[in-house]
Amino acid sequence: MKIVTCIKQVPDTEAKISLENGKVQWGDSPLVINPFDEYAVEAALQQKDKHGATVVAICIGPDSAREALKHALAMGADEAILISDAALENLDAQGAAQVLAAAIRKIGDADLVIFGRQSIDSGTGLTPAQTARRLGWPLLSLAGSIELNNGRVRVERVIEEGRQIVSAALPAVLSVVQSIGEPRYPSFMGIRRASRATIPTWSLADLGISAPTPLVEQRAMFAPPSREQPCEFIQGETVTEIAEKLVEKILAEKVL
């Protein structure tokens, strides 16, 4: 069995993100594997532990993204491939799906493709579904648990209303949520292997595709209004009135 996990490299969640001359800055915080994607690697490794599998981690990104792939290798992935090409700088979700689908085809014989639910940088959460559609494989998204049996995969999807249990024949594309289980730490053996691994780089030419045309175009970025505002005290005649006013204020903040 072969499992491909698609990962991304992002600034650490703890990073102070700011804008400088229209460019995103994250200070001296490290770039790390997207936290949700660590769960994807964990999910793949759980299946490897249970059924035996080759786990291949792939990542689109610049040369620095090798570190994210090394993390996957250190956790226990068997192979890693970096997809890197100067033409991929302004990739949108759908472009990423196109590139990933091509890479998955080139890897060949994948039974499962596993994604994290979304990245914490662009945060669109579109790529898993779009990759599935590009491949023409069933999408079992937001899986909280995975079972493989007789060439079928069965997952419990964690949705707003509870859990939906679905199954499909392999090959299939999955995205996973945290209930899959805490990602394992890299093992020392994994660390040794990862630090010595040579990670091949595939260009668009290697994938035999041209650069995807962006369908979503960014016009601007801006920092949210500063939260240094003083506290606004809500007052009213009755506690009900205060509560109702406060609810309106909170809803207007659009945080819910």
Partner: protein
């Protein structure tokens, strides 16, 4: 301008953000709504009431259970036939992936999880959070139709006009599904603090209720956390606590927020009866909106709160629960 709105529901239970999408689309012109699955039939009238001009409906039994591929194919066929300028989805688990798949099928882009929209002619200029809300971007879609998913509660719910009505325009389901639905399970609703979008937390104030004079602290605290729990549950959130009440043994350590407890980053943090020791404040640095309820107007928590109520949590919290319940229709 014509907009197609996907009305997201589960066994007839609608995701209210679908109505918000209708509200947005109404400002632009014609609104077509689409409802898939027989259990959604009762929503047809509601869609009209919220402002849809036409409501498409498919009650094919294969759509009784949500399956991404089949739903997307059916929507794709409708979109091709109707050629709307815009397709809107609520940002729900289903809305997000249907938008994604539809974009592939129609070769267009998705403006995902939008919190604000402007219109330039027929071009949508969408504002959406990136880097976990630490920044925002403005994006436009270069494909047609433009597809967007709207963050729940980012747009107002349109007024409901019960006199409006119309008929369900029947459509056929398209394609087959490779996915088999085997059943459902209710989720254990335990929300962990670190993942919680909303946290309602209690501090020393939970032990101070003049109305319960004479009762021991533990009993008062239990009542306090009961009220806090009700508010958290209406908001789908988790219950947090300050060190003081954890140390006093009124709530388990796993609820503690603060430097040696948990660092949390909810969208909304409601501090009830928490004075705001510095370590507590640094533990909630990641919170997007802090609301504080405290008897002491000088409490340091008000320095980091956006909104504050000076009052007794035993009165304010239940009133707030009630007000949210009413306003959110729960």
């Amino acid at each position: 301008m014509k907009t197609l709105v996907y009305i997201d529901h589960f066994k007839g239970e609608v995701q209210p953000a679908s109505w918000e999408a209708i509200g947005v689309a109404r400002n632009w012109g014609t609104v077509q709504a689409v409802i898939l699955g027989a259990s959604g039939e009762k929503l047809v009238k509601q869609a009209y009431e919220y402002g849809a001009d036409e409501v498409f409906f498919c009650d094919d039994s294969s759509l009784d259970d949500y399956r991404a591929d089949l739903f997307a194919s059916t929507l794709g066929a409708l979109a091709t036939a109707q050629s709307p300028d815009v397709i809107l989805f609520p940002t729900t688990t289903r809305g997000r992936e249907l938008a994604a798949i539809l974009a592939v099928d129609l070769n267009s882009g998705v403006l995902a999880d939008v919190t604000a929209l402007e219109l330039e002619g027929t071009l949508l200029v969408a504002t959406r959070p990136i880097y976990e809300g630490k920044l925002f971007e403005k994006v436009v879609c270069r494909g047609r139709p433009q597809i967007a998913t709207l963050r729940p509660r980012a747009f107002p719910r349109p007024p409901r006009d019960e006199s409006r009505n119309g008929s369900a325009i029947r459509i056929e389901k398209q394609g087959e599904s490779a996915i088999q639905v085997e059943g459902y399970a209710v989720s254990e609703s335990r929300v962990s603090l670190t993942d919680a979008g909303v946290i309602v937390a209690g501090g020393r104030g939970v032990t101070n209720n003049p109305a319960m004079a004479g009762a021991d602290e533990a009993t008062i605290a239990r009542k306090g956390f009961e009220l806090i729990g009700e508010l958290a549950s209406v908001l789908g959130g988790a219950v947090g606590a300050s060190r003081a009440v954890v140390d006093a043994g009124y709530i388990p350590y796993s609820h503690q927020v603060g430097q040696t407890g948990k660092t949390v980053a909810p969208d909304l943090y409601i501090a009830c009866g928490i004075s705001g020791a510095i370590q507590h404040i640094s533990g909630i640095r990641g919170a997007k909106l802090v609301v504080a309820i405290n008897k002491d107007p000088e409490a340091p928590i008000f320095k980091v709160a956006r909104y504050g109520v000076v009052g007794d949590l035993f009165q304010v919290v239940p009133a707030l629960t009630e007000a949210f319940r009413k306003r959110l229709g729960k």
